[in-house]
Subunit: 205 residues, 2 copies
């Protein structure tokens, strides 16, 4: 216990906020968003609940921060990828593949979003966060497809419905890996890339 | 209260079992499988918990029955559809469309399966039920595709991965309707039918 207390006092505010967030994420994942209290998170962090309220307004604010961090990580992975000089078709494939190494984080995000949405709790800012995440995804996919069609890389498909289908396929892949308990994310994304590169793609001239 | 008690004594065993099941389904949906106790279900049914144990061994048995009933309803809807004299491509489209009118029930099933799988509870029979549900779905889709390809209705795609993609798309559609809170199931299934009837389909000769 002495060791724990010692290390506890050493934590700077940023590290402590990170510890609270990662603990909240773990508890939201293992249990259910509605079943986890700020007190549970405090106990798991071995700190006083009042200290959590010093960093985060309430549980909703914690949830938003957890989701925002996950969304940020996905975006950062894509931004860090080598995508200069790629054509729109290659960019789409790269974007899909970026999901593979960070799959465990996305599974958590998908689960927490579903738990939140299924609950009777409504928080306007969280709703907005989820809405914007999917709107940005749809927008990225539509832009890729539109540029790909204009550049002669893709067949002239309906951009909005094709983007939606790709986005739903991703949701399905991450949902299924949880619900079916099979570990096939890499293979399923490979499969989705093959569809994007196959029927959608105009053969190279 | 007198009226409730009166109606309660009138229930025959089958009706009472149905009431318990539908109440369990509602509570599992509103809350979380792990958060609902047999006592909660008994209270919501206005009966004694012991009576639930008379019909169902335990909560796991209740969950299995709830899932089995949902799976059975999906199968019954398909069996009741007019599918004599359909070719494999039409049969696939019909099967997809059968999901639309019973969407609310499937959303519940999808949520409960995910909640169960994400929990630390493992029940061999429930695992088997979920596994078999998806295996049957995959099998149906593969058979449709194989017959469709053999009959010249579909392009010669990879049967296993295409069936998997269709199954994941369905999961994604039902997951998204919950997580994103948009009510687009009919439109999304229409979109999936268009993909099956479009790029997959060999134009009519």
């Amino acid at each position: 216990m002495v060791a724990v207390k010692k290390s506890r006092t050493r934590l700077d505010p940023a590290t402590r906020a990170d510890l609270i967030l990662s603990t909240a994420l773990r508890l939201f994942e293992e249990q259910h968003y509605t079943a986890v209290s700020v007190r549970d998170i405090a106990e798991a962090c071995d700190i006083n609940a009042a200290l959590i309220y010093y960093y985060f307004e309430n549980k909703d604010a914690l949830l938003r921060q957890v989701l925002a961090q996950a969304i940020g990580q996905l975006q950062a992975s894509y931004d860090a990828s080598e995508r200069h000089a790629l054509n729109p078709a290659q960019e789409l494939t790269l974007w899909l593949k970026v999901h593979v190494p960070i799959a465990p984080m996305i599974i958590r995000m998908v689960k927490i979003m579903a738990d939140y949405s299924a609950s009777s709790i409504r928080d306007a800012e969280t709703d907005q966060l989820i809405l914007e995440f999917y709107a940005r995804e749809q927008d990225f996919l539509e832009t890729c497809l539109r540029r790909g069609i204009a550049g002669g890389f893709f067949h002239p498909v309906d951009v909005a419905s094709t983007a939606r289908a790709i986005s739903l396929q991703l949701d399905g892949i991450f949902y299924a890996s949880q619900a079916r308990g099979d570990e096939r994310i890499a293979q399923d994304i490979e499969n989705l890339c093959a569809i994007v590169e196959g029927p959608l793609r105009i053969p190279r001239r």
